[in-house]
Every structure is written in structure tokens, then in C-alpha cells.
Subunit: 759 residues, 2 copies
């Protein structure tokens, strides 16, 4: 194993079709700020590019038109917007403009180093006039000062002596990507950001802008630092700033421009220009080496807890690390933001947050970085009032309904059958609040945040469901599988709602123990009677079960439909949603993604193993995996059911989805849920982790391709390492006072090290 | 009974809120052309008005935006457009401009005379300067020359001697009504028609215009004829023409301006300007009295077959005649047009044709005017190719699917769950083709048109449904009740599809008898095997039935849902669709309109009477009648079940829906389906008519409020009069060779007169 084993992502492609994908893969983000991996000097005009910079949670509002607008349909939606472009740096040597598409490229590679959190381009270039330069450009979005993005531009002359000109730009006139030929991205040009002020102060260039509809403000600040004796000339117009830097270079000598870029916004700061200036002073006060060092320290600390290693497959190791690194890059680190479906790497899904966060990504943070997990959950707590308003729009007099997709808290889904109708998001969020409690045993957080979320979501289930005889049923909702919409008694939804209601009752008891129940009586009018109603409802929750098949039907009428004609569906007709009218799809037994199978993963104790096994086999045959949220769950459940070969195959597909662009849309951004799914595939899949009320369970297996795999997790204040080898699994307590764990359903107390033979 | 008993509609209101409704009620149409009852001289600016003229089937295309566009969603739709405004005539007396809102109105009334087919305004007006005029304005859309609309303007001086100036305009710059505050009509101003030419030729003023997107063309031509010695001055710009007519008037003398307006369009004529000129010459060649006389002859002939009389209730009589008259005004009389949901009286529902035509309106035409009925059916036959294309969009490889709403044949519904998903429209259309055959026994029409429609619709059911064991089921469609969408085995749909399939087989046998089956083998690839498949499917068609309740459930899961909380729904929350999110509505047992009850009306032999009775009682409790298509069906079925009191109450509500503006949207146009429902309430409801394969059935009853009621119907080439009195019913053969009829299930041969005591 070399030192670089799986730590780097490298590309040397200059193909237009690959460059636009690399813009995503090599984007630089820190959870607050994201800059796509565009070339500072640009591409030829004919190349398609999505040049973008984004702030997490910073949005404009777009009007939503409906062909036919029914009551409660959304009238507007939030949308992440492309902000001021600070990426521009052009280099001129002896009148020739540097471009990788002119002159001669003698060497080129781009590297993402996931240990240091830095992306670099290393180029050896011969200009049309024959001057040879070595150009190294490093880019970093600081995890320590999240407002900071740095471009570190070094030029070394190999045979040239004379003047070098660098032209650095900051452009306030930007717009989101649009493509009239692709219905999945915006089809129309829309200007969202208007420059309000362009100014220069203390050698800092500032552009202050405002969004057109949401009236949010942001400032970008740029400061240049040059190693050489240079002449600097600054110009500006009312929408941009340009700095021209001229210096003399000698053969064998390197000169360096550091472009510090700071971004602030009015969501976080009352005066964002002033704050940007302060931040800039703060970050430029220390040498750039210190900035890199802090980044490295941060990354070291991160990887110490978060790394998952696999012996025996470097590509896979790389895919796993890439997934983990992207989760870190994508995750909002304050209560104003969360994790967008594409992180901060692109504009796909308009920067919206979905259930992906809770069900696919939070497990990673919860087990490796509980503070960040709390932060993500706090975002949901902060949006509770908006969720109450959303519930009213959907007709409910009581309770809260989290929106299917949102940035600032209100619903942004314009097609409700596979959007707002996915009420399960309420239970998904509640589920993770419960998991957080089970992992941390943090009762303060329960009393201050989780309880209210569980109470309000429980109320919504009561207002949505009803009794038929002795069973509590939930009609007209959509489960995770978007190829079947608005059904009665979706198994996933009912099972998750049951958990939601059950834990609302448990949290009520916990709050009561801590003397907090009076608070909820006053604040949300909660009384014991209501809690007893929740209890009755979860006890009587109806979970569809087909006795003859020993399977859980996806919903009340799923099994009475015809099975999709897979045999006569040509390969090019996938994903189905791009080739068939939704009504046609709804008519058949065909799943876009795991639904009942996902419920069996999250709540395995609701059914006996044979039912889970039979259901897996049944649904596997009719699932297209047209969603990137699917294969990871099938991998986990295949492992659970002992089919390691199948688990491995699904897992391989999961791990490199973006690196290999298997869904053909990585250009629009990474698939963050799939990244979380990769992590879960290791920890919940192969290692068989489950967090239950009764404790932490492992059922580890290992694919034959691997020698071993290792990861670390936090549990009840302990940090433990888990290493699974061919013949044994080793649990090592790294810090903390120890805890109980279950391995293959046997309970052990982990104090130091526990070694168990692999079954 | 006076001569006018129920023949006239009179209004003397000058209230803004009533005038906009009167524009609809007093509109003038002939199935080709419709002119709203706007005042020639206009209202004060503050009054809301929908000033409009429409040609049936003449449309522009609008882009349709979707918040989230899924595969197969429509990208554009047709829309009826407001065309050249020829209504303008201003009158000036001694410098004062005539207006009913200035000076003094000494007498005013507006009358629709349904016998003559003419609307008139009679006014006695005192100008601000004290000059008294009697003004009479008659308007007529000719049923004989359907291109012709006439305004016949007579001024009589009561105390004035001097100059009168009439200013007549023709304005090409028009747009559809829009109101940004009403989501049910267009919210944005859109220009659809562009003037291409303004010219004057042979004293005829022409404006030739073109629609912006559909590129259809139309011409309006105006010619003035004045009784007095007058001075005429014509002016024009590039979008309008104005004719100023000055003449001297004496006390006691009447002078008269006749404004002939002819409309032609490029759907019907290759050169519409030339055709307009020819038409104008044709109609102005005869004296205006002749034009009135022809209209009166037409109306006499119409009423002779179509009239339905009721002794004992003038308001009701008026309502019935109004309904029948509006059906005539609304029905397209060529293969290019059909009957819009608002006829030609307004822009509601964008001039689209729905299933309303077949299920609610065609029965009237079929029984009173078979030629017109054939015409309406021929329209559907003409659109078969478009229906095939629509089926492909919805994913079907075979068969035709008629669009839910359309003008030119392609789908215009932008919300498919209560639009395109209403596959029952296929069976509705097929049903009326069958009814046409049963009434006329016209096998030529079957061979040339009906058969192909039935074959292609039958194919669609085969491609939509599937077998579960021995039952043929139809999943994921929407029935007539739009408060429950996309369900499995909607009773109405399955029952109607069964009829569709059954008659496709019967028509195949009929075609075969007439030697036409080879034609279909060649033209649409039909073979015997396919026909046998239809047979098997209808024989095995699954019709949901709840044994315990002895009711037909509306669909597979309808009864498992909670019943809507009617008790706690405030009155102002109706119609529910304007106050609740559709998803909330879908969750409950609540019906917008008759669904299963409608199936029991159309196909009563599918179930035993107890099931029909129980179903009626069940659904009645949960039906809001938020649709104007509902009460008439409940009236018919109440009569069928012997509850005459209830039938009468529903009928009263039906009959005067527009005259009393009970749905508060008559300003947007008349409810044509409800008009048809009124007719059906009499003939199918009280008289209990059913047309079956075995013959024509009557089960007459009479409400206690009436002395008698009478109507005439055509059947198998015979014309018969049916008169129901308190104690007896009398069937009189007026023409034809006689036919069999069933009265209370007893068969009789009607040759001359048949008198039966009323049960």
C-alpha cells in the first residue's frame, strides 16, 4: 500500500465532455462555500461549462407556474444561485494568452488531495511563441475560516525571461446555468443577483450584491498578494473589478500570486461588507502556509474519526474516501444550512435539501462527528414553524409537515404526487432525531429540540391517519418509491410513522422525567390525552402484510397491479421517468428505488426475517434503481441477508457513481445521498451495524475481494475502532469509559478490545 | 297559459355585477359564431366586462409551463380566442353620447326571445340636454347563414328634431379576458390575434387577422345599411375601421341602421377574405325581413322537435327552454367543431370540448335532431388520429385515447390526475356512438365511423387493463369524480369500458355482416383473435362490489378511506377544490359529482336494483355537487328509484343554474353540460327513458307540482310525442311507420297512440 493509496483523485483530461464533469468532481467546498472546478483562464467558447460559486442556504426566489394551478400549489420556490465569480485569472506571456487549448501542453494533471483538502492543477506549457512555463494552481475552500476561498497561482519559467502579466477578475454579473434543451435544469435565463456596490478599500476589492426577489445580500472580497516586484493596475466598472499584475520573470524562478477571496452574506451577518473586510484582514494577517497548515490539521482531525479503509481494492478505497470527503465538503455547519442534494458542487435540484440528509447522510455524521450531526438536526428544529405552515397549506389543522424540498423551510416541490405527498419525510426526520438520542444519549438535546419535532410530527400523523376498526391507517401519501404515487398504507410510511409516534411517546416520558412537560403544555398545548392517542395509534398501526407470499406489499393495492414488462423495455428507455408518462408508470409494479426494502433496513424488528428475505427478492426483481438512493440500500440488505456477493456488486455500483459518472449527470453536481449510502454500505452493510433502543448491534461480513476493512465510530461518548478481517472482527475502544455492544446478537461490554471470530 | 309562457328571458338590470352575467345569458350564437351580450355603446370604465366574439373551433396555441415537467406533460394547449370586435355602435344626439349611465333612462329592458332567436334591447332615454329617444337594438346570429351576425339599430325621436350621429366600429386589436386576481381565468394579458389587412371594398369593411401561434386566419366583414338619407364618412387605421353616419331625425320618426357582420376563417375556407365578401353579398342581397323570417322558420322547425313543455311552473318552463335553446346556440354544426363547456358564450375552460358533449349533451341532439348528433360524433371520428397520438404519449403502443379537453384534437389538460387520467372519456364517446346506433339503427354510420372509434378505444382498454386470475382489471385511471384521482378499478370506468368492449365486438359482427371486416384488417390490422380478446375481457371485467353493504365501491380502496368531516366544514369552504389542497381531498370519501351513480344511470342492467338504491343513498351523503354535472344525475336517479320529491328538488337546482347564477361563475359562460342535464332530467329522469339494445324503455313519473309535461323524440325513423299527465301517459306517433316501446317493462307496438295509466 503506497502512501497515496486511495487518497487522491487525478484527472488529465482536456475533453470538453469530461471537463464539465471534472468541474463537479474537483469542486472546492467547505459546507458554507462551494466553487466549481472551472479553469481560471476558461475553456474555448464552444465548450459547455457550468461556471459557478455557491453559498449554502443563500437563495433567490423564483416564481412557479402551473399549467393548472390547484389550491395549495406553490407559487414560488427558493433556488440556490450562482454568486460573484472570483475564479478568473488570465496569464499573458510575451503577448500570448495562456490556455490549455492553445500552444502546447507538455504536461497536465489535476489532483484532489483529500488529506490536505486542496485541489491543484500542475501544468507544463509551451506558448505559441515557444516560451515554456510550469504553472501550478492550488485551490482551497478553508474548513477553518469557511468564508475563505484561496487561489494560489505559481508560475515558473523554464526558458523565458521577460514580462508576465496576470489579469485577475472579480465579476458581479453572473447567472445560473441554463440549457433550453435539458428539462432537468433551468430552461430559461434568469438574472438573480444585482450588483449594488463595487468598491476598493485597503487594497481589498469588494462587490456587494443583492438577490432580486429574496432580497438577500452578499459580499465578495478579493485581495491579491504577489511574491515578485510587480506593477499593479486596478480598474473597475459598476459590475466588476480587474487587477492587472505585471512582473519580470527569470528562467528557473517561480513567482506566485495568492488570491484571497472572502464571501459573506446577510443571512449570517447584518453588515456583510464590513464583515467581509474584517474576515479578509483576519485571514491575510497570517502567512498562507499557516492557512494550509490549519486546513491540514482540520483534515487530519476529520479523517482520524471519519476514515474508512479497505485493504485490497484501491479504486474502491478511493471511492469510499471520495464519498466521505464530499459529505464533509457539502454539509452546512451552521443552523442556516443543511446538505443539498448536490452539495455545493452544482445547481442540480436547485440546491434543495431533501430527506436524503436524514436517511442517507446523517448516519455518517452521527457516528463520526456528533457535533455536525446536531447542527444538521438543529436546522430542522429551526424550520419547525415553516413546517407547521406547510401542514396548514396541505389542509392539516394541527402538527407540522416538513417540505419535500426546501432551502429556507417552505415547500419548493412543484409536482406534489412525488413531492409534498411524501409525508414520510416527517418520520425520516423524526427517525434521525431518535437515532441521535440513541447514539449520544443526549437528553438535553431531546428536551430542547428533538421532543418538539417529534411531538409536532406525531400530531401530523394523527391528523392524516384514521381508524378502520382496530387498525390505524394512513391514506393518500407517497412512499419513497416515486414510481408509485398517492397510495393508501404505504408500508414504509406506516412503519416509519409508527416509530415516529412511538418515540414521541417515549420522548414525552423523558421530557416529563426532566420536568419539561409543562413547557409543552404551554407552548404547543400538549396534554397527556394526546400522548395516549399517539400510543394507541402506534400500537394499532396497520402494516400491510400478504400472508400467502409472506411479503409486505408496498401499499394496499400494489400487488394487484400488473408487473412492468421489463423484458420488452429497451435499455435506452431507462431511467423510465424520462421515457414514460408518470401515469403509465404508476399503473405497474415497478420501483424507482428501495421502499419497503428501505423500511426493512431502518426498522428490521417490525418483521420476521423470512418476510424481509421474501420482500427483498420480490422487490429486487421490479426495482430499476433509477434513483441514486437505491443500490446502497439493496447492498446493505443483501449483506444483512447473507448474500455477500450481491451486496458487493451493489456496493461497487454505489461507490463510484460520480467518479465514473454512471448516471450521466454528474456535471450537474455530485449525488450526496449516494455518498452517504457508500458510507452506510460499509458500516451498516458489511459491518451490519444497527442502532436500536436496546443497544448497538453488529453482524459483520467481509467480501472475498478484501483483506480487511476498518472504521471508527462514536457511541455514548466512546470512540471505538472496528476492524473486520477475513477471520475475525476486532472492536477497540480508543477513548471513553466503555459501552455494551452486541455482536451477532450476543451482548459484550467493550472496555479495551474485543475480538470475535468471523462467522 | 299566455303566449309568452316561458319563451322569453327578460332583464332590466343595469347593475355592474349583473350586467357581466347578462353578457353571458343574452349572448347570441349559432354554433359557429358567438357574440357576448355586450352593450354596443359600452359601460362606464369602472365596470368589469368580458367583451367577446368567438368562432367555434377557432383557436390559438398557448405555451404551458409546469413547475416540474415530467415526461409526456403537455407543452402547449389550444385556447378559444376573442376575435374582431364588431359590436361597437355609438349614438350622439346634439353632442351628447348615448349611454345608459348618463342622462335619464326612462325605460329599459333586454329580452331574449327563444322563439325567434333574437335578443333585443328596448330603451327610452332622455339625453342630458333633454332630448328623448326610443332606441331598439336587435341582435341575431343567424342559424341559416351561420357566418352572419346582425345588429339592427333603430332610433325613434320622441321630442327631438335635428342631427343624429351613429359611429360604428370594427376593431381588430382584441385580446382575451384576463384577471390577475382570479386563478380560474387567464392571469396574464396575451395577444393572440394580429391584424394582417384592413380594407374596404364594395362598401364592405374587411379586417383580416392571423393568430400568433396556430397561424389560423379569419376575416370579419361589415356592411352598413341605413334607412335615412345620410352622410357617411369612413376612416381606418391599420387595426380598425370606423364609419360615421349622420342623418336628420324628426319627432315621431324612426330611423334604422342595419350592421351586417360576416365572419369566416381559414379552417373552413381557403381564402377567407374572398369568402367573407361572397357571403356578405349573399346575405345583403335579401331584405333584412327575409333574414328574420328564415331565422324564425329555423327556430319553428327546431322547437317543433325539441320543445319540452311543463304545465304548472313558468319559471321552470323558462329554465328548460333556456337550456334547450343554449344547447342549440352552442353546438358546432360542422366536423371542425363540437360543443365547448361554455358553448360560445364566454372564455371559461378556454373553449375546450370535454366528455360533457357525449354524456350530457348528445342525448338531446340524438333524440331531437339526429343529423346534428351525427355531426358531433363525426367530429370525434375526425379526431381519431390525434387520439392515437395521444395514446402514444400516455405510453400505449396500441389504440386511441381521446384527450380530456381539446379543441383541435390534442390534449389540453395540464394537470393529468384529474385530466388525461380520466380514460373513461374513451368509453363515454364509444357509449354515445352505440346509443346513436340504437336510436337510429344506421348501420352505414357504424361501418363508416362508429366501428373504427369503438375498435380503437377497445384496444386502449386492452392495453390499459390486465388480468388478475379470471378478472380483467383497470388500474391507475381517474373516474368522473375529480375528488378521487388515479385509482384502481373505478366502478364507472370499468363498467363503461365493459360496454365499450362489448359493443366493439358487436360492431365487428355488424361490420362483418356488411362485408367490411377486410377493410379493418387492412387499415388498422384488426383480426378475429383481437376481437375474441375483447370479448373475453368484457366477459371477465371486474366490477367492484361490496357484498356486505350491497354497494358498488367507487374504486378498490374508496371504502377504506375516512369519510370527509362534513359537519365541521363551513359552508364558505365549498367548492372544496378552491379551499383545500387536492391531496387532502383525495384522502377522504367525498365526491365532487356523480360517479358510480352516473354509471348506474347509464348502465342500469349491470346491477340489481337494491345495489343501485343502496349506492345512491351512500354516495348522496358524500357528494358535494361542486361540479355542475352532478345534480341532474342525482335527479334522474332519484326519479328512477321512486323518490319524486327528491328528483324534483335536484331538478329545480339544475334547471336554473345559470339563470340564477347559483355557481357564481355564469359570467365566464353558460354551463352547457348542465343544460343537457336539464333536458335529461325531464326525458330520462321523470319520463324514465332508457335506450337499450332490447329497445326503448319508459318509466314515467310526474312531480306533484306539475299538471303535465310533453316532449317529442325520434326513434328508428319515427317521431313520437310523449305526454305525461297526472293520471296517464300518452304516446303519440307523429310520423314514421311505428315502433316497439316498453312502458314499465311491458312491450307495446306504437302505431298511432298508446295511453297508459300512470302508476
Amino acid at each position: 500500500m503506497t502512501e497515496n493509496y486511495g487518497w487522491e483523485i487525478i484527472s488529465d483530461s482536456l475533453e470538453a465532455s469530461e471537463l464539465i464533469v471534472d468541474e463537479t468532481l474537483f469542486h472546492t467546498a467547505n459546507g458554507y462555500l462551494g466553487v466549481r472546478g472551472n479553469f481560471e483562464e476558461g475553456y474555448p467558447n464552444a465548450f459547455d461549462t457550468i461556471r459557478g460559486t455557491y453559498i449554502n442556504g443563500f437563495y433567490d426566489i423564483s416564481e412557479v407556474k402551473h399549467g393548472e394551478k390547484l389550491n395549495g400549489f406553490i407559487e414560488s420556490k427558493q433556488k440556490i444561485i450562482n454568486i460573484t465569480d472570483v475564479q478568473g485569472i488570465e496569464l499573458f506571456v510575451d503577448g500570448d494568452r495562456f490556455s490549455l487549448f492553445e500552444g502546447e501542453v507538455l504536461d497536465y494533471k489535476r489532483t484532489l488531495d483529500m488529506r490536505s483538502g486542496v485541489v491543484s492543477r500542475q501544468i507544463v506549457w509551451k506558448s505559441p511563441k515557444g516560451h515554456m512555463l510550469e504553472i501550478t494552481i492550488c485551490r482551497m475552500a478553508s474548513f477553518v475560516s469557511t468564508d475563505l476561498f484561496v487561489i494560489d497561482y505559481t508560475v515558473k519559467s523554464l526558458n523565458y525571461e521577460g514580462e508576465i502579466v496576470l489579469v485577475s477578475t472579480q465579476i458581479g454579473e453572473v447567472s445560473n446555468y441554463f440549457n433550453p434543451n435539458d428539462p432537468r435544469v433551468a430552461g430559461e435565463f434568469e438574472q438573480h443577483l444585482t450588483v449594488r456596490e463595487v468598491r476598493r478599500e485597503d487594497h481589498i476589492d469588494l462587490i456587494h450584491s443583492e438577490t432580486n426577489a429574496s432580497k438577500l445580500r452578499m459580499t465578495s472580497a478579493v485581495k491579491h498578494s504577489v511574491s515578485a516586484q510587480c506593477q499593479t493596475e486596478s480598474t473597475s466598472d459598476n459590475r466588476s473589478l480587474t487587477t492587472k499584475i505585471k512582473f519580470q520573470i527569470k528562467v528557473g524562478v517561480s513567482e506566485r500570486l495568492i488570491k484571497y477571496c472572502v464571501f459573506t452574506d446577510s443571512i449570517r451577518y447584518s453588515d456583510c461588507s464590513q464583515s467581509a473586510l474584517c474576515k479578509m484582514h483576519e485571514v491575510t494577517r497570517m502567512p498562507i502556509e499557516k492557512v494550509y497548515e490549519l486546513q491540514k490539521d482540520y483534515m487530519d482531525a476529520f479523517w482520524k474519526h471519519a476514515d474508512v479503509t479497505v485493504e485490497g481494492d484501491e479504486k474502491l478505497q478511493q471511492g469510499i474516501r471520495f464519498s466521505i470527503f464530499q459529505l464533509l465538503q457539502s454539509a452546512g455547519k451552521d443552523k442556516y444550512s443543511n446538505i443539498a442534494a448536490k452539495g455545493l458542487s452544482g445547481e442540480g435540484y436547485e440546491g434543495h435539501y431533501f430527506w436524503d440528509t436524514e436517511i442517507y447522510m446523517l448516519p455518517f455524521f452521527l457516528l463520526t462527528n456528533p457535533a455536525l450531526a446536531e447542527n444538521l438536526l438543529s436546522y430542522r428544529y429551526e424550520k419547525l414553524e415553516a413546517a407547521r405552515e406547510n401542514a396548514r397549506i396541505l389542509g392539516h389543522q394541527k402538527g407540522a409537515l416538513y417540505p419535500w424540498r426546501t432551502i429556507s423551510g417552505s415547500e419548493c416541490s412543484a409536482y406534489f404526487p412525488s413531492g409534498s405527498a411524501q409525508y414520510h419525510i416527517n418520520a425520516d426526520i423524526a427517525y434521525m432525531f431518535v437515532q441521535h438520542y440513541l447514539v449520544t444519549k443526549n437528553t438535553d438535546f431531546v428536551v430542547s429540540k428533538s421532543a418538539e419535532v417529534l411531538f409536532e410530527t406525531a400530531r401530523l400523523w394523527m391528523d392524516t391517519g384514521h381508524y378502520v376498526g382496530e387498525s390505524f391507517r394512513i391514506d393518500a401519501v407517497t412512499g419513497p418509491d416515486e414510481y408509485t404515487c398517492v397510495v393508501n398504507n404505504n408500508y414504509y410510511t406506516n412503519a416509519m410513522a409508527k416509530y415516529n409516534l412511538k418515540w414521541a411517546v417515549k420522548f414525552y416520558e423523558l421530557v416529563k422525567e426532566h420536568g419539561g412537560s409543562a413547557f409543552f403544555t404551554n407552548s404547543i398545548g400538549l396534554d397527556e390525552k394526546e400522548v395516549r392517542d399517539w400510543q394507541e395509534a402506534y400500537q394499532k398501526m396497520y402494516l400491510p402484510y400478504d400472508e400467502k407470499l409472506d411479503i409486505n406489499p408496498q401499499d394496499d393495492t400494489f400487488f394487484s397491479k400488473a408487473v412492468w414488462d421489463f423484458e420488452n423495455t429497451p435499455k435506452e428507455n431507462y431511467p423510465l421517468l424520462l421515457h414514460y408518462h408518470p401515469l403509465y408508470i404508476y399503473r405497474y409494479q415497478v420501483c424507482k428505488q428501495a421502499d419497503t426494502v428501505l423500511a426493512h433496513f431502518l426498522l428490521e424488528d417490525e418483521q420476521k426475517l423470512s418476510t424481509i428475505q421474501n420482500s427483498f427478492e420480490y422487490y429486487e426483481k421490479i426495482t430499476t434503481h433509477d434513483s441514486s438512493l437505491s443500490t446502497c440500500i439493496f447492498s446493505i440488505m443483501a449483506a444483512r441477508l447473507g448474500n455477500i456477493r450481491k451486496a458487493y456488486d451493489y456496493f461497487i455500483h454505489t461507490t463510484r457513481l460520480d467518479l465514473d459518472n454512471t448516471h450521466h449527470n454528474t456535471k450537474d453536481g455530485i449525488h450526496t445521498a449516494n455518498m452517504g449510502g457508500t458510507y452506510m454500505g460499509m458500516v451498516y452493510g458489511f459491518a451490519g451495524l444497527r442502532i436500536k433502543e436496546t443497544g448497538m448491534y453488529f453482524n459483520p461480513v467481509i467480501p472475498e475481494e478484501w483483506k480487511s476493512y476498518t472504521f471508527k465510530i462514536s457511541y455514548e461518548g466512546n470512540l471505538m475502532q472496528v476492524k473486520i478481517c477475513k477471520e475475525k472482527c476486532v472492536f477497540t475502544l480508543l477513548s471513553g469509559t466503555g459501552c455494551d455492544i452486541y455482536v451477532w446478537h450476543e451482548k459484550y461490554h467493550l472496555e479495551d478490545e474485543l475480538v470475535k471470530e468471523l462467522k
